[in-house]
């Protein structure tokens, strides 16, 4: 079997990623050209840390989008002669190289890392957004009303936080649990939050302007109901949105584990902001509590929330990796990074490459997000 030299591996990998580079060049050029009009995002390009963060995160986003073009092989294809081959081995059939070598089931590690980014980059941000929705919807009233609402909600949040994450996952993401209605019930509950959130958001502001309100409510309910039906009941009439029961289970468990932390942050922010003068002014005007929470407090809490969301996507990525590492939830042949690390680490003393590349991918993505969050924090503090 022929092998590429190290130099050839690097150059071929770089060439293989051409759609990503192209998209990155366009993004960076556009960002610099319109830097002054882009607000907070534009200011990220003032610091080296910010640029690096944006570049790493954008690299993975584009790689996930163009995975079909970038990856030379199918992530599940097993080409027997390539079993455990070192990086750079050339597959005889197609003449294409296994750039990062083959794993123990003779699959192309490079293609698996590229396709794995799709799974990670869909679940982690989506779960974070849902956790934010749940955390915000419960944290706002807890912080604003205080008293009993706060006591009960905080107790529940602390209850979940007192659960060690790993134990929670072992209990919630076991294979048996998909036979019970628990994941669906939890999904049904959590996925209700965004719909309720947007309905309240529009209603509290436009309730006197029926013509605007109806359009907004109709859009929210149709879109929300469509996604809700697709995710919770797997009954999307158009057949576009569907989710594997295992992935739904993971999704729900991650939302469940992360939302109490968001709740605590939102609650703290609200308690701080509600003492400001403009809140007192809104109260004097006779605005309803939910209008004040959603249209006065929330926009003023967005800075810390954006930073936290960034960090939290990284943390969720790590959680997903942990789940994959313990073989919970994901199918064993899934190319996501956590599962790949687990599979690779079994033979680590013999073959390094099947575990090393997904590990590096996961680390770089989380690092990019952390750098981004750090520089967002610095930039927003300059205000």
């Amino acid at each position: 079997m022929e092998f590429l030299s190290t130099f050839d591996i690097i150059t071929t990998t770089l060439v293989q990623l051409w759609p990503t580079w192209l998209a990155l060049v366009i993004l960076v050029a556009a960002s610099f050209a319109f830097q002054n009009q882009l607000g907070l995002y534009g200011r990220l390009f003032d610091s080296g840390v910010g640029i690096v963060g944006v570049l790493i995160v954008a690299f993975w986003i584009f790689t996930a989008i163009f995975a079909d073009i970038i990856a030379p092989f199918d992530p599940l294809d097993q080409i027997v002669v390539m079993k455990n081959k070192l990086p750079g081995a050339i597959e005889p059939g197609s003449g294409e190289a296994f750039l990062f070598g083959g794993d123990k089931l003779a699959r192309d590690v490079f293609s698996r890392v590229v396709y794995g980014s799709q799974i990670v980059l869909i679940i982690a941000p989506a779960a974070t957004i849902f956790a934010l929705m749940v955390g915000i919807s419960l944290g706002l009233p807890a912080g604003y009303y205080g008293g009993k609402t706060d006591t009960i909600l905080s107790f529940l949040a602390n209850l979940v936080l007192a659960f060690p994450v790993i134990l929670l996952f072992y209990l919630l993401v076991t294979p048996g649990i998909t036979e019970t209605p628990i994941p669906y019930a939890m999904a049904g509950l959590f996925f209700l939050f965004p719909i309720v959130f947007f309905v309240t958001l529009f209603y509290s502001r436009y309730k006197k302007r029926a013509e605007v309100l109806w359009i907004q409510l109709a859009i929210t309910l149709t879109l929300g109901g469509w996604i809700y039906a697709g995710l919770v009941f797997d009954a999307d009439p158009l057949g576009i949105i569907s989710i594997d029961p295992n992935e739904l289970n993971i999704f729900v468990a991650v939302v469940f584990a992360t939302s109490p932390a968001v709740f605590r942050i939102v609650r703290g922010l609200v308690m701080d902001i509600k003492t400001r003068d403009y809140i007192a002014a809104a109260q004097t005007r006779g605005e309803t509590p939910w209008y004040i929470m959603l249209w006065e407090i929330l926009p003023n809490a967005r800075g810390p929330l954006i930073v936290d969301a960034c960090l939290r996507i990284g943390y969720t990525t790590i959680l997903l990796g942990t789940l994959g590492y313990f073989g919970l939830g994901m199918a064993p042949e899934s190319p996501d990074w956590g599962t790949a690390i687990k599979e690779g680490s079994r033979l680590l003393r013999l073959y390094v490459h099947p575990a090393l590349f997904p590990a590096a991918a996961l680390m770089s993505f989380v690092l990019g997000l952390n750098l981004l969050a750090d520089s967002l924090r610095e930039e927003s503090m300059k205000d």
Binding site: V49, F155, N158, L159, L161, A162, F163, P164, V165, I166, L167, Y170, L171, L172, T174, P175, G176, I177, E179, T180, I182, G314, I318, G321, T322, Y325, F326, G338, I341, K342, G344, S345, L348, R349, V352, A355, L356, A359, A360, L362, M363, V366, L367, L369, N370, L371, D374
Partner: protein, 345 residues
Amino acid sequence: MFTFFLKRLGVMALTMLCLTIVVFSLVNLDPNLRKLSISQTNMRATDVEIESWLVNNGYRDPFIERYGSWLGVWPRQPNIDEKTGEAVSRFKYCDDPTVPTFSGVLQGDFGCSTKFKKKVADKLIPALQSTGWLMFWVMAVMIPSALLIGILAGMREGSRTDRSLSIISITSTATPEYVSGIFFTVIFASWLGWLNGSAATATSKGITFYNFALPVMTMAIYGMGYIARMTRASMVEVMTAQYIRTARLKGMGFYAVIIKHALRNALIAPFTVIMLQFPWLLTGVVIVEIMFRYQGFGFTLVQAAGNNDIDLLLACSLVSVVVVLVTQLISDVGYAYLNPRIRVK
């Protein structure tokens, strides 16, 4: 202070009660019970056999009774032998009594492990001791280095040292145990051969640098960055305070100011963070013990969860919840004690 303490203890007890009920109901879900019965009967049991095994061993008794007997407020019933009609011990390998007795967590009886065929306490206590050693070394490495990095970085905000140390700590928070474990094993065990890639010998032959350095390093790295960043933030804040400037203007040396005036106040916030880091370390313990085959608490937890070993899993969750709650309490009380401006009311 005393009523605050009592109130906290009450909330803790309530939290533990709620959490154990949740865990208890989750491990008693039907698919989990079936899994247990299949592994315990060691045969391709039919649905009828599984059901009768579950009934005979008391897994079909009402939920409240079973939870009550685990807790120790309801008598634990022995099994009834089908043929003779006599009462027999439920778990023979644990010498379970043949008469109904009040024997639960409140009486100090954590039940019987169906996976390891011994009493939960006999399995869990050695495991906790092993993990205790791991934790001790992790703390001994992590805390001093994290504090040092944080103080050096926060001493002169915006300097070159600050920037490079901040990048290092951000990188370390982006490296979960299962990633750093792989990097370190590849570098130190496979390529250089300096360290052992497995800590299995640490249990039998004692802890040495050779078999213990990798797990400790792996765990310390992930937690270190966070503590270092918190220390840095706190240090930066203190360094801008008036009294530091006064001390400098008096003509005191820079390092003397740091050691005598800044450190004392800068280390209050990291103390809380370190305490709240324990629950995170628990996840790390599980990953590291599996990765390096170290027979500690995390290893036991995974075995218990994988085999749906009800009593062992409940005991594990109780231990971890107690760890989380106690560290929270220590952090609150300690914070109030260290910071005279905040007094608990």
